[in-house]
């Protein structure tokens, strides 16, 4: 399993930066903790680590993070 660090802007409905991939969950967690402190005062920024076999799998189970509102649904059809 790989671990992907995402920084997501809820108001804009999109990622602020490209996902960072980690092989080791503890390294991913440390980096997430650091980035959470960075955005502590902004409740609209989600800092999240998602685990998955691949980024492709993740775009299926957590598509909200990866696509704009329109593309999100069209990807499922």
């Amino acid at each position: 399993m790989k671990h992907f660090l995402l920084i997501y802007d809820r108001m804009r409905g999109e990622l602020r930066e490209k996902p960072t991939v980690f092989e080791d969950v503890s390294v991913a967690t440390r980096e997430r903790n650091r980035r959470e402190l960075e955005f502590l005062a902004d409740p609209n920024i989600e800092v999240v680590v998602l685990g998955s076999a691949s980024l492709e799998d993740l775009t299926k189970t957590h598509s909200r993070y990866f696509f704009s509102a329109d593309a999100l649904l069209r990807s499922a059809s």
Binding site: S26, N33, V48, L50, A53, H62, S63, L73, S77
Partner: protein, 295 residues
């Protein structure tokens, strides 16, 4: 009583957060150690501080992070187990601090009682029978599991099967969704991101009539998807019975294919309607704002 059951009872009483709770000390046959970073009382006090604060202090955030990290091991174990038992490739996530704090503010849930700090999600193309079967397989893979069937009791339109399991002393939530259930959920979450999570995800009051109509549309689509899934499941069962009773009957095979096409078309229509919801919401909100400005 088997030692594992006994141990689980002991741990659930302690909630595995009493300092110095070494399973190996109590039950020497067990070698796993669950490191308690914080007691239940300290945890709930932390939750109260987070609930009452506008912005959490960095010290409290670090405490929350330390507590949350303890779920990593159990979550990885659950992932490995689901892969081994059912060949599943779920995704995993720890709840973000924003979501944890929002939930404590919204529901006044004690931090120590939260069921979904660690979560796994499975999305599959399947009918309701197959979803039930998958849920059964998942529940069979864990000693302690409980089904929260939000298909029978939708949560503000949200439908899915959630299996709560206890593993290594940690409670985890495994979400099992069909593709249509997932498309609805992702759309509604997106609407929540763009126009407010409380009204779209938790039924809070919405003043804007344009957005209210979108929320109503989402509620109708949730019902439509439920009806579609029930009908599709019944049809698949009937088709299997017919094919079993009349093997090789080309007329029956043709009718089943035609019905399948109809179901696919209905599904595409539902997805298409959902795909327009966020844009429609944007347009209606913009129209409301313009009319408000003109008054």
């Amino acid at each position: 009583m088997p030692i594992e059951t006994n141990c689980k009872l002991y741990c659930s009483r302690l909630e595995l957060r009493a300092p110095g709770c070494w399973l190996g000390d109590v039950f020497p046959a067990m070698v796993r150690v669950v490191p308690p970073s914080i007691t239940t009382s300290q945890l709930n006090k932390l939750g109260e501080r987070l609930r009452k604060s506008e912005v959490p202090t960095s010290e409290d955030l670090e405490l929350l992070q330390a507590f949350r990290e303890e779920f990593n091991g159990a979550m990885q174990d659950a992932y490995t187990r689901l892969k081994a038992v059912a060949g599943l490739d779920p995704s995993t996530r720890l709840k973000t601090h924003n979501s944890l704090i929002e939930k404590m503010k919204r529901d006044r849930t004690a931090l120590s009682r939260m069921q979904d700090i660690g979560g796994l999600r499975i999305v599959k193309s399947m009918d309701l029978n197959e979803q039930d079967g998958l849920v059964g397989t998942i529940m069979g893979a864990f000693t302690d599991s409980l089904l929260h069937d939000q298909r029978k009791l939708p949560n503000h339109g949200y439908r899915a099967a959630h299996v709560h399991v206890e593993l290594d002393g940690f409670r985890l939530e495994i979400q099992v969704r069909t593709e249509l259930q997932d498309v609805w959920a992702q759309t509604n979450e997106k609407l929540g991101d763009l126009f407010g999570r409380a009204p779209f995800r938790y039924g809070a009051e919405l003043v804007d009539p344009g957005l209210r109509s979108i929320r109503d549309l989402m509620a109708r689509l949730s019902s439509d998807i439920a009806q579609h899934e029930v009908a599709l499941t019944a049809e698949k069962r009937r088709a299997a019975e017919l094919l079993g009773a009349f093997p090789g009957n080309s007329q029956i095979s043709l009718q089943i294919r035609e019905l399948n096409d109809l179901f696919r078309q209905k599904r595409d229509i539902l997805v298409d309607l959902l795909s327009h919801a966020p844009e429609l919401a944007r347009a209606r909100k913009a129209k409301e704002s313009t009319e408000e400005a003109q008054k």
